[in-house]
């Protein structure tokens, strides 16, 4: 997985002539968005953002997206089989997550919401660790500091403030790391997100706000949250906002890198709105047929993030058949591993209820733990 390995850049043959304005409006009434790879798999240029990736790097991004999608599908299956209580699928958002995730450096810090499985993948979090909370064995199954990837945050918008505070700390430390906070279109309405904008602007904190506008907050379309494009929110707080084609992994990578670079170089926060689509249900508990039409989904299927990269790669010869075959095998292996790990994931010990509530202990917890243990033991005794 060395998609960022240095290699002499090669020029793609299908790029449009430089200078051609290659931003595209998502809908007739929507503003332009940064795009470097069209839904048809055509490389296009953008006056402000450019990218030049090696074949290996392109293969890396492709592999990330394919494996993430496969992992996600497997998790959905596991939920249907009763192995998970719930799953929040990222289907359709692979480019937004892989493009932005791959834009981060190891020393950057990432604050996800609850759907950032692709970002977790980029950060090196073992995907099976993501499943604990959805299975109900923990509320967060990885060490945030191991990969600078914070725990999933369910209370919408909260993490935007944590990211801002963390970034304030980075600045205090004089480090040139950056911080990235993920949230959704729905989350944009929460006061906490607005306060994060205010704090980050006032303290010029090195943070990127990465909003995946997947058009829906459960059953509510984006027009229930805003009447203008979300990226424009930033300017009123004094920092730039940019809308990127969230299904274009190249554009997302380029735009996020630029935003992280701004942060690193003391230029403060940026809001990136990745314009994408939630192809599946909100979660496995949701039934989107109640509130949206199939046609919309079909429209977005034509903009699939993986397909368009594959078209480019095939046309430009960035990968051969062997690569795709091997990747398929790798996907199967990943799915199998995920399945096996989840199925054998033990339930936590009952006493875990009383663990980690406090770092320095609490008399009442000690008392209740002891009572609980005695109570449990009484059953054991009875059954003797």
């Amino acid at each position: 997985m060395d998609s960022t390995a240095a290699r002499k850049p090669r020029r793609g043959s299908s790029k449009r002539a430089a200078g051609t304005k290659a931003t595209k409006a998502a809908r007739p009434d929507e503003p332009e968005l940064v795009q470097l790879l069209t839904p048809e798999g055509e490389r296009v240029e953008h006056p402000d953002y450019s990218i030049d990736l090696t074949s290996e790097e392109l293969r890396g991004l492709y592999r990330d997206m394919v494996l993430t999608r496969r992992f996600d599908a497997e998790a959905t299956t596991l939920q249907r089989q009763g192995e998970l209580g719930l799953w929040a699928s990222l289907l359709g958002q692979e480019a937004a997550q892989i493009g932005s995730g791959r834009a981060t450096r190891d020393d950057d810090y990432v604050f996800p919401t609850y759907r950032e499985h692709g970002v977790a993948w980029c950060r090196g979090v073992d995907p099976t660790n993501l499943l604990g909370m959805f299975r109900g064995v923990n509320n967060g199954g990885w060490d945030p500091n191991e990969n600078n990837f914070h725990l999933y945050t369910i209370v919408i918008g909260s993490q935007a403030l944590h990211a801002t505070g963390y970034a304030m700390g980075v600045a205090k430390d004089g480090a040139d790391s950056a911080v990235i906070a993920y949230f959704g279109d729905g989350a944009s309405s929460q006061g906490d997100v607005a306060e994060a904008f205010t704090f980050s602007a006032v303290y010029n904190a090195p943070v990127v706000f990465f909003c995946q506008n997947n058009q829906w907050a459960i059953s509510e379309p984006t027009d229930r949250q805003t009447r203008v494009p979300l990226y424009q929110r930033a300017q009123g707080y004094g920092f730039p906002g940019v809308r990127v084609d969230g299904n274009d992994v190249l554009a997302v990578l380029a735009v996020t890198k630029a935003a992280l670079d701004r942060a690193r170089t003391g230029q403060g926060p940026t809001l990136v709105e990745a314009f994408t689509y939630r192809m599946g249900a909100h979660t496995t508990s949701d039934d989107p047929t109640r509130y949206r039409r199939d046609e919309e989904r079909e429209l977005w299927e034509a903009k699939d993030p993986i397909l368009r990269l594959r078209t480019l790669m095939e046309r430009e010869g960035h990968a051969d058949e062997a690569f795709f075959t091997a990747l398929e095998e790798e996907s199967d292996a990943l799915a199998k591993r995920v399945r096996d790990v989840v199925r054998s994931m033990p339930d936590p010990d009952h006493m875990a209820i009383f663990e980690n509530i406090y770092a320095d202990g609490h008399a009442l917890v000690d008392e209740e733990r002891a009572q609980f243990a005695a109570y449990q033991a009484s059953f054991a005794e009875e059954s003797h």
């Binding site: 909370m133 509510e220 209820i353 917890v365």
Partner: protein, 326 residues
Amino acid sequence: MSVEKLSIAKAINASLRTALENDPKVLIMGEDVGKLGGVFRVTDGLQKDFGEERVIDTPLAESGIVGTAIGLALRGYRPVVEIQFDGFVFPAYDQIVTQLAKMHARSLGKVKLPVVIRIPYGGAIGAVEHHSESPEALFAHVAGLKVISPSNASDAYWMLQQAIQSDDPVIYFEPKRRYHDKSEVDTEAIPGPLHTARVARAGTDLTLAAYGPMVKTCLEAAAAAAEEGKSLEVLDLRSMSPIDFDSIQASVERTRRLVVVHEAPVFYGSGAEIAARITERCFYHLEAPVLRVGGYHAPYPPSRLEDEYLPGLDRVLDAVDRALAY
């Protein structure tokens, strides 16, 4: 026919429908309450029948929902607000505590805020974090609010009717794990007063006091105890603010023993208030201290542990045994 067997969820839906029909000022507001009909389908069909002006999908911002509901109430509306899950009420806590609860007093009675806040609460549904909490004490402590929770479909229907008709702000906690429990609802009955307890099962040896989802658990415990020859009275409190202390006192004066059961953590929970006040009122009647069964002083655990965390039959009976052992 005015008597129907309904689930609690359907009873709430019917009650909202009745309210929307009877009073053009009633509004439903919340996240996903419209087309989706709420994540529990409690508001199913209401937007279709009453339109987007009366059943309002709101932006994803709980403070905004409650804050604008206050404004709508000031304009003469009677908003019924849905908070999607217990754990998501906290962004609205400031509006509820500093504004909704206090505006009537602040205005010396000039301003009334007939706002109902519906909150599906409690655990045992196998959910992820923030979806299984019981924060009722955090509202009951605050003057200006009324806090209630039904345990059955009939109460779900009628208590909601009464809450909507009340000129006070009411927090209406819905026992989400019981949403599908069915019982008879007479939509033409004349309901008793809202804030009174109900004897759900008569008994002589000990009183179990509960509300919302724990009433059923207590009834099961009483049935189990009956097989062992113990006669437990079960009180369905229905209201956590005010609490019907008179009814509890009357029961305890007969049974001389009281166990309070709730899902919420025991520490600073409603059981503490009941224990303290009933001990004061019944000091010479009590044969045993008031015992409390509830959640531990711990965050609600991951769902694979919730059966151990939540008060179940066994833990209730254990407390009963301990109380009877005095």
